[in-house]
Symmetry: C2
Subunit: 387 residues, 2 copies
């Protein structure tokens, strides 16, 4: 089995020279006569330049095939090989990574598993984010959760910048929110997932994740790119972490936003996440409030779904975009709204209701123009955020 990687170089770069540097310099390197008795083994580790072409804009594309024996079936060693030292060599961007099916991990739950936990099979899932992001007490979180869970919300998550802070320690938030989730379950039979943000130094983070699950957490949130792919992979492989893991894309722009360096968003948030064992991945929706290329977004969605990982378009999501989102995504998607639920003119519960009204109107083919929408949560949302 082999790994193929697509590198893109600006017009002024010699792609033949650079492809050769990558194929040799990122694998065995060169050797001289004194290693001739190891020739066969050394050759097995060399990468191979498969194809070099130039696109209409003058950009060069090189496809390089790496031996799978060079890496450890994980993402960190893969990144080191394909773009470790070479990332510092000048203008080159990794725009495609093709991995064997067996490479890395698959989600423990993913789309089918999360649907089963929630017992919801026939519509997009609705997800909210606790806001304000910092400064609320654990009890405040429970109050918000009750409002949105009563209104029918499927999933809620911590804001990605809310760590284990003195003002609302992670375990206290879980303890306060778990009581709400248990009450909802008893009263309605519904499960609502709360993805608790898990943070800390790698060893403590993993211990904390186990403790959270033991204490009743039914989902986790991880800032995969600031804590490290190796941390995600540890959690995903851990049999004690038997709850869905949600990946937040924080820091993705640092490695993906540049046109000529780094890696494409679709590589990091799509391909890599899909082989990392995570269950759902947040990423910016192209019609949201972060600039994002629709083609890249489509690739992320498709990479994730191809391995049963739930796509979670985020940022600037509000009830008015539901028709567009369903047209773009179909049903196998989690629509994730922060202020689009929490800042509803009425209250967060009404924010959730507005999403469900919107889903119902799409399902029954009804218009979203203001004059046709009856008074209520959706109309208030449309008046505030448009469509």
């Amino acid at each position: 089995m082999t790994i193929e990687v697509d590198y893109r170089f600006p017009p002024d770069i010699d792609p033949h020279k650079q492809a050769k540097i990558i194929a040799v310099g990122q694998t065995a390197g060169t050797w001289d006569a004194k290693w001739s008795h190891r020739e066969d083994t050394l050759r097995q580790h060399l990468a191979e330049v498969i194809e070099i072409k130039t696109d209409e804009g003058g950009y060069h594309l090189a496809k390089i095939r790496f031996p799978e024996i060079n890496v450890e079936n994980d993402l960190a060693s893969l990144l080191t090989m394909i773009f470790g030292k070479y990332s510092m060599a000048g203008a080159a961007k990794v725009i495609g990574v093709h991995l064997p099916e067996s490479y890395g991990q698959r989600p423990k739950f993913g789309i089918t598993g999360i649907r089963k936990i929630l017992n919801v099979y026939d519509r997009p899932l609705i997800m909210a984010i606790f806001k304000p992001a910092l400064g609320l007490s654990a009890a405040d979180h429970a109050v918000i959760l009750k409002q949105v869970a009563d209104a029918g919300l499927d999933i809620i998550k911590d804001d990605e910048i809310l760590g284990d802070l003195e003002t609302a320690p992670t375990l206290k938030r879980l303890e306060a929110c778990r009581q709400v989730l248990e009450a909802i379950k008893q009263q309605t039979g519904r499960t609502v997932l709360y993805a608790v943000n898990v943070t800390g130094k790698a060893d403590k983070l993993i211990e904390k994740a186990r403790l959270l699950v033991k204490e009743g957490a039914n989902a986790l949130l991880l800032n995969v790119l600031t804590y490290g792919f190796s941390v995600l992979e540890a959690l995903a492989a851990d049999p004690d972490i038997n709850v869905p893991i949600f990946a937040h894309p924080a820091f993705a722009g640092a490695m993906c936003a540049s046109p000529d360096t780094g890696l494409s968003y679709s590589v990091i948030l799509g391909r890599f996440m899909a082989h990392g064992g995570v269950d759902a991945v947040l990423y910016p929706a192209h019609y949201g409030n972060l600039p994002f290329d629709p083609q890249e977004e489509k690739k992320i969605r498709d990479s994730l779904r191809s391995r049963n990982v739930f796509p979670v378009p985020s940022a600037g999501i509000h009830p008015g975009i539901v028709p567009k989102a369903i047209a773009d995504y179909g049903d196998d998607v989690i629509l994730n709204a922060g202020t689009g639920i929490m800042d509803h003119p009425n209250n967060p519960g009404a924010g959730v209701k507005a999403f469900f009204e919107a889903l119902e109107r799409v399902k029954t083919g009804q218009s979203f123009t203001l004059d046709t929408v009856p008074e209520g949560a959706l109309k208030q949302a449309l008046q505030k955020w448009g469509n």
Copy 2:
């Protein structure tokens, strides 16, 4: 205590608007009247725009002060706060991070500790890299190590892409090399450090690091940026990891090479590493074979030294650059050569001897022009690589 971060925006970006988005959006966010009873707490978490100015090139610089209570005294939560979601917002680069002295960790050994282990106080240290990078057996590593250690080498490390592979498993390499190191110690009293590359999923990596140390490893190498800062911080905080940790910069270019996005090399390889508890940091020397800005390199060196972390300029280092390196760095530096030792025309041992001849000539003020250098290892190196 506060954290100050310098963001740089291209001329066409409104820095006032963006600075405000960062100060609010990367901290508490906005809130409405229903949280007025939490006003005081929420305000404590907000960041503050301290200064906005425009440089001669039209680039805007914004300095933003973040409350330390928002983060967990570690690098991963810091990255999430200062450049998490915002990294995806468009063109902005983090060019400076100013942390309280007490933030993060200090090295267990660093410059003073590594010198004490080696009992070498009055000259730069010489470091080599096992080459070819992949495809050698554990026994091959021991053969190379004997050659360079006998010649007086201070430190050797695995290539950063050499993981725990079937052809030469990490523990087997250690086992084979430890015998050489022990023999040198017995025969000469000298300690030679071997920084073993530690890899794997975060939990297994930490376990493996502990095992390696228990089995006699006297130094570790970590690809901090592909495995995650949180993994470095776990190793650095672990009392069982009582050996120096060397950080490799693999993948730094993915987050630092772009002019208008990501973070400066000096932030990632300098400031962040200096607060991460690592003992020595490799980075590209500006006169090496990777393109690198001398000013950024100077900042890295100074940030590291300010917290007793050993700077390790690398890539393209060979005996001929020793005069330049000493002029640039003085003595408190580790000169790290891969092919510049391993590919010496004679043999790797001669590569090491060439470095020591070079150090001696600089110390005694002798010329490096070919006709003045006597026959021997240095002359052969100069003939091959110049100066």
